[in-house]
């Protein structure tokens, strides 16, 4: 069974424009979570989508947004890129629906570098 996949693996951007990161969950999983893992800050929760809706949001500015598609894949958009947005962005999926959401399975991440 395929795990969580993310694309691209690496993304280099300059300050200002938008970055779009993509995630495909494990088949059968309806919940998708986005995390930012910056050096020295640990894993920070960004967004949680379940059944196409945003369920929860971490302490990040509105320029971090996303959506979940009918096939449960998801994209994360980061607008007005800043240098401090450089980090590993991890996507995780779980069965969702109020069930075993603590059993999150992570993808390999997208390394975003902003210069």
């Amino acid at each position: 069974e395929a795990g969580v996949t993310q694309s691209p693996t690496h993304l280099k951007k300059t300050r200002g424009p938008q970055a779009t990161l993509r995630c495909s969950p494990i088949s059968g999983h309806t919940s998708v979570y986005w995390y930012q893992q910056a050096l020295g800050l640990g894993l920070q929760f960004l967004l949680w989508y379940d059944e196409g809706e945003e369920r929860n949001r971490g302490n990040f500015p509105p320029r971090f947004s996303g959506r979940q598609f009918p096939n449960y894949s998801s994209e994360l958009n980061v607008n007005a890129l800043e240098l401090e947005d450089s980090a590993l962005y991890l996507c995780a999926s779980s069965l969702g629906g109020g069930g075993d959401s603590y059993e999150q399975y992570f993808g390999p991440g997208t390394r975003l570098t902003v210069t």
């Binding site: 894993l43 075993d100 603590y102 399975y105 992570f106 993808g107």
Partner: protein
């Protein structure tokens, strides 16, 4: 005070030793406790989870939760070089309706 505190390490121990990894937390509402392992350039993988207080054993790994002290531990017996990774504790209050709070992770090196 941060919600979850975890010593970043690095922690270096000889092969075969027992490893003890720990986290403390401040939110008494946390009920679900997880340990993730993250190898370099990879996403975290779920190792173990426990609900409320008590111990849980899985092979060489034992997770322990002491809610009265707000303290959780992961023990690794007969440590192997392949156990070298960053270990993240994580916890949440409510299943299905809450985000998980992660510790910053402890880097572990098992010396052959």
């Amino acid at each position: 005070q941060k919600e979850v505190e975890q010593d970043p390490g690095p922690l270096s121990v000889p092969e075969g030793a027992i490893v003890s990894l720990n986290c403390t937390y401040s939110n008494s509402a946390f009920q679900y406790f997880m340990w993730y392992r993250q190898y370099s350039r990879k996403g975290p993988e779920l190792l173990m989870y426990t609900y409320s207080s008590g111990n849980k054993e899985d092979g060489r790994f034992t997770a322990q939760v002491d809610k009265s002290s707000k303290y959780i531990s992961l023990f690794i017996r007969d440590s192997q070089p392949s156990d070298s990774a960053t270990y993240l504790c994580a916890m949440s209050a409510i299943v299905g309706d809450d985000k998980i709070i992660f510790g910053k992770g402890t880097r572990l090196h098992i010396l052959p």
